[in-house]
């Protein structure tokens, strides 16, 4: 094996000549030197593969019939080793081998040149291969750049999401009697849970679901949270808060985007809850069965009666809902449609019935629903942001409210 005949000046690249006959090799070597290529050679297919791995030539000229390993097999192996890198292989054929041309291309050859070689033909074919090779290299570079950019964006988004979430949720009531899960389909959830105490001790909860998911959905969360916080701290009634949020979103969101939401206001003595549902799955009020204290039943199911927020200039908030009497220990459960519409591998939806069934299974609806959901969906990824909230109306919750107010 003879390696590396250096030429003066910048060469166009390194060519690997694979032919078992020295005379053929010499001829091609001379022609390639005239084309300003450095050359190395191999005497059979097996040496060719080895040399490719060692030197990564820019172009390969491959004879077909050789001992040890023929050109077809060598070409196949070299193409496999090269992977996504384009290394042009030009087969050297004799006229009688024309029938084998299809075989050449099938084996991974990119072109062929027949002996005796004409200089102009060789020159033209090399140029054509170089064009393809340069194109292929550009594509690979761009691909790499795209991947790097994508990774950078993801990092930025994750960092931004953490800042964002803290800004939105700080200020929420903290209590063991409020269980919530907000699971984003990707970074940034379009679902949001806001909670706050009014100056008179009443507690406000707002679970919302912006159309879509990801960043476009999450954009509406901050302005909504601002309105909510500003108005709850002043003790505005729920109706007015909803009207203000609607106005804000009507201005801010483009047509076609809206916020479905349910709002729960529990009075300061926890005797009544007023529940507004604008476009969300039914809100459940759960309590003990009158017949059997061990059994949980749905005392009230509050279905969607209002248009989602942000659609109309004037909010649809009439008629106001009738306050619901709360028994001590009863629980209010809300979820977004990402939960009821979550699908399993067969494409079936979890659905309202399974949701209600799981919620009434135990006195910790939150846990039962999540277990049932995870069992149903298995490893199927969630297509939409999903959220689930359970509010347990016990004295501990009232205390949390008092603490929140005094912060």
């Amino acid at each position: 094996m003879q390696i590396d005949k250096a030429l003066t000046g910048d060469s166009r690249g390194l060519a690997l000549i694979v032919d078992d006959l020295p005379a053929n090799r010499k001829l091609l070597e001379l022609l390639l030197e005239q084309e300003n290529y450095r050359t190395i050679y191999a005497e059979d297919g097996s040496q060719a593969v080895k040399l490719y791995k060692e030197h990564h030539p820019d172009i390969i000229f491959m004879d077909v019939m050789m001992p040890v390993m023929d050109g077809y097999e060598a070409a196949r192996r070299i193409k496999t080793v090269a992977g996504s890198v384009f290394v042009p292989i030009i087969f050297l054929t004799t006229l009688s081998e024309m029938d084998g041309l299809v075989k050449c291309l099938d084996a991974g050859g990119d072109d062929f040149i027949s002996k005796p070689f004409k200089r102009e033909v060789l020159s033209a074919k090399i140029k054509a291969m170089e064009r393809i090779r340069d194109l292929s290299r550009r594509v690979a570079e761009q691909h790499q750049k795209i991947i790097e950019q994508h990774n950078r964006l993801l990092l930025e988004q994750t960092a931004a999401e953490q800042v964002y979430n803290r800004a939105v949720t700080s200020g929420n009531i903290e209590s063991a009697h409020i269980q919530s899960l907000l699971r984003a389909a990707s970074t940034f959830s379009g679902d949001m849970l806001l909670s706050a105490c009014g100056p008179d001790g009443s507690m406000y909860f707002l679970l919302g679901d912006f159309t879509g998911h990801g960043l476009t959905a999450a954009v509406g969360v901050l302005p909504t949270a601002e309105v909510f916080r500003a108005m709850t701290v002043k003790g505005f009634p729920a109706q007015e808060i909803l009207i203000s949020i609607n106005s804000k979103l009507h201005r801010v969101l483009p047509t076609g985007m809206f916020l479905t939401a349910c709002m729960v206001v529990i009075d300061k003595q926890m005797k009544h809850a007023t529940i507004w549902n604008a476009g969300m799955p039914d809100v459940l009020v759960l309590g003990k069965s009158t017949a059997d204290a061990e059994v949980t039943v749905v005392k009230q199911s509050v279905s969607s009666k209002y248009l989602a927020l942000g659609i109309l200039k004037i909010a649809d908030v009439l008629p106001a809902p009738v306050p619901i009497a709360l028994e001590p220990g009863c629980r209010i459960v809300m979820c977004s449609d990402g939960l009821t519409e979550a699908t399993n591998i067969a494409g079936q939806e979890f659905g309202k019935q399974r949701f209600v069934s799981a919620a009434t299974e135990s006195d910790n609806s939150f846990r039962s629903v999540i277990e049932a959901l995870e069992q149903f969906c298995g490893t199927q990824p969630y297509a939409d942001d999903l959220s689930l909230v359970e509010i347990e109306c016990v004295s501990g919750l009232l205390l949390a409210g008092v603490e929140q107010r005094n912060k």
Binding site: G212, T255, G256, F258, T260, A278, G279, S304, Y306
Partner: protein
């Protein structure tokens, strides 16, 4: 999703078949754009009988159509939703915004 349109008299009917979701956006808009500019058309009917699935982005698209139809002075109706789709429209309380039959 297959979308086709038929004009009978002054009513342009847009027939939809399949999943009405985010991917339909471009085609849906293309289907009604011409009708909105057509002076011979006074009403647009969206035939939902072939729609088996409707998500919130579809609701958004209907809201856009509603705004554009009103701006063009055309009437708008949503027609023949199947029970599943009718339920989605009901939860969304879209009967407050659209004539649904």
């Amino acid at each position: 999703m297959k979308i086709s349109k038929v004009v009978t008299g002054d009513i342009a009917t847009i027939d939809m078949h399949g999943r009405f979701d985010f991917n339909v956006q471009r085609d849906f808009k293309d289907s009604y754009d011409a009708q909105l500019k057509n002076d011979g058309v006074a009403h647009i009917h969206v035939n939902l009988s072939g729609v088996d699935y409707l998500d919130s982005s579809a609701l958004g698209m209907l809201l856009m159509l509603r705004e554009r139809a009103a701006a063009a002075g055309k009437g708008l109706k949503l027609c023949k939703p199947n029970p599943g789709v009718a339920q989605i429209l009901e939860i969304a309380n879209f009967s407050k915004l659209f004539t649904i039959e």
